[in-house]
Subunit: 243 residues, 4 copies
């Protein structure tokens, strides 16, 4: 059987790292982010805990960049690999700005991760997932989504378009690749994620931010579901969130 | 701390039993169904495996019946109990029939479990969940839903009404009791559940029916989520399902 | 061809009256409400403007009440009638109250109009719609819905259940009776309706309440759509509404 | 008061032409399409019927192209114009193809109309809508959507992404510009539109294709709604459609 690996795109200090650590408990993990600095701490941490991780700075919005990354992956692990789990966690830039003040560059630029990036990532990983069916768990492709996947907001047309778009892709791929045994899922992260950056937010209410470790745990749970019982979509929010 | 128990309404040979077995790994379980016969096999099985279970034949559509049941629960476990998990799995009668051929009795009767039953069950259990907040896992109230919670079908107005209705109640209770630390969830079961009764269906495609054990596992997973990271809704369907 | 009439249930001073006046421009109208007092002013007004209207105090939640009403309709117009348009506008009682403080009677009572009432009304009117296909406009059955048809709110489980339920019925009937040429629609009224009772609300923002005449106009528009181009669902809200 | 005009992008032989003819009954219309040939017949027809129309071949996916078009509009009508209605009807290319066989160019190319095009069109027209508030009808921006705005299908990730995306933009703009008095709407066209090209489809069932004249009529109806009573979304489908 081919060697099973996991690959996570969008590894920053919050969700991406937590997902990487979680899946590293079971698989060698490939970690992608734009900058090596984002990747270093979690890569080191995984290795220190006895896991296996390689980090490859990658611009997923570039098709050739993503191809080069997969070449590196094969150079590292050998070409007889299968992807047990692929997680697309690349953030869409959150821009809240009056629509008429947005430049074309700003608007279109904010869509690149969710459109080009998601397309490149799915195209690069799915071929390695189709033959992972004899593995313990069905191969799993997970997209991180947001509230804005369900509801457009004032001043948020670009952000909403990118989140609606990721959801559209996730549904389409689930309907195409589900019958081939690949589990495609979409998680609606509805609330502030608890990271370094958000430390100062919502401090007055205890536990009012989403724990990235539990986003990771939820993704791992999705991964373990057998093909009789796939979840396509789940939401995650703090108990205190108004929705 | 009060004694933690789990309570499951709608224990038949499929999902209900699987959920009962799963939660019995952690808590004494109270099993409800209309008939003692439905309850006996799983109650016995749980006890044989070292778990603790009591079964109480109950018509959940009767407010007084549900009250009497809770009295029995307190007589059995003492009044210092908390409900760690309550699962409402009572089936809405599936009637597909031309609308104009449905009698008022048929139509309204098919709604009793989802309306009166869900109301009685939630009212009887929530008071015992509000003080279970110091437990390891937040108290959890789960409703079993179906595809028909999202889409009304021809000849299925009563069934759809009951499933839409359960979803409405689940959302309302989640918004009311979430901030009080109670985790309310709704599972959309989209496909045929693999039970004795459905043995003959979909036999040509392997694994094309939902495994009740994995419905149970998914409910258990929901139960373990901390209050930072509650899932309100997830779907469950076989990889081969058209949706 | 049979005589075409329109029938409106839930005729109070707001939407119901406006709908009655609008459809009375084209058809003799049958107006239903619990009390004769609600019916009198609009019935008189329609007649004064040259229209034809009869009012029949009816408890639509009673199957026999609804049958008796249809008997009166036939006694009045003769039995060779067809229903060109039927509008179900009976309000679900809006109760916002902590769930655990709701009595069973309160909860279930608030559901009667949306469940029994809608069922009785649809069963009584649809048989007279199936043969109205040669009329200028396809026979149309419209349900008035609300925001709560899409989203359950804290303390609103009964109200949400009734609005989700009406939507479920509307979708099911649309899928069953659409192919038979009956146009079934559901309108999501999202905002405060401008009536006597709401005169004092939202006075600081001009035009911030929904004009019942335009609910009526929208229903009339739905009625005029040919069977090539049916709208099943539309929303209606003031420009100033946050949603 | 400024001169009121209507502008329609995506004028082909079906919906676009029908919408153009409908709005030409009330306003001088500006018709946009990639090729002059698409524009000629309907422009001529409108003029022959006493309407006023100018056609400007425009690639709406080009920001500078759209700007140049607006310059031409101002050169033609003078700069004191307001846009009473703007309709974005540019088709997303319908590509159903296995995901892994789609090239990056194909995938991204199919998204251009819905992303760049919709952005350019909305940015070019909204500034001329903000001051049309004293007109008889509130200024109206309508996007033509599709079933794929609600549901991603196998092999349709690009198409779904573009339709979900248009819906996201429409919702965001509605929430931003609604309070400024601009009516933004999204129409879900669910079914085959009856055009030259689709003449051969669904011939066995009478009236089973959507009439473009009635799409136009529905858009016109949306336009006439006062700001007390805006519809943001409606669907349109033939009575015979399975949904």
């Amino acid at each position: 059987m081919p060697k099973l690996i996991a690959i996570i795109a969008g590894v920053g200090p919050g969700t991406g790292s937590a997902v990487a650590r979680r899946f590293a408990q079971a698989y060698p993990v490939v970690l992608l982010a734009r900058s090596q600095q984002s990747l270093d701490p979690v890569t080191r941490e995984i290795k220190e805990n006895g896991g296996s991780a390689i980090s490859i700075p990658t611009d997923v919005t570039s098709a050739s960049g993503m191809t080069a990354t997969m070449d590196q992956v094969k150079a590292h692990f050998g070409s007889d690999i299968s992807i047990a789990a692929a997680v697309y966690n690349v953030a869409s830039k959150f821009v809240r700005k009056p629509f008429l003040e947005q430049s074309s560059e700003e608007f279109l630029g904010s869509l690149e991760p969710s459109i080009k990036g998601a397309f490149n990532f799915a195209q690069a990983t799915l071929p390695f997932m189709l033959d992972a069916k004899e593995a313990q768990y069905p191969p799993t492709l997970i997209f991180t989504g947001a509230t804005a996947a369900l509801k457009g907001g004032s001043g948020l047309s670009g952000f909403a378009m990118s989140k609606f778009g990721i959801r559209a892709m996730s549904q389409s791929l689930a309907r195409e690749f589900g019958p081939k045994g690949v589990h495609v899922s979409h998680a609606i992260i509805d609330g502030i994620i608890d990271t370094e950056k958000t430390r100062g937010y919502s401090q007055d209410i205890a536990d009012s931010k989403i724990d990235p470790e539990w986003i990771a745990e939820s993704y791992w749970f999705l991964h373990t579901q057998p093909r009789t019982s796939f979840t396509h979509e789940l939401d995650l929010r703090p108990y205190s969130e108004t929705w």
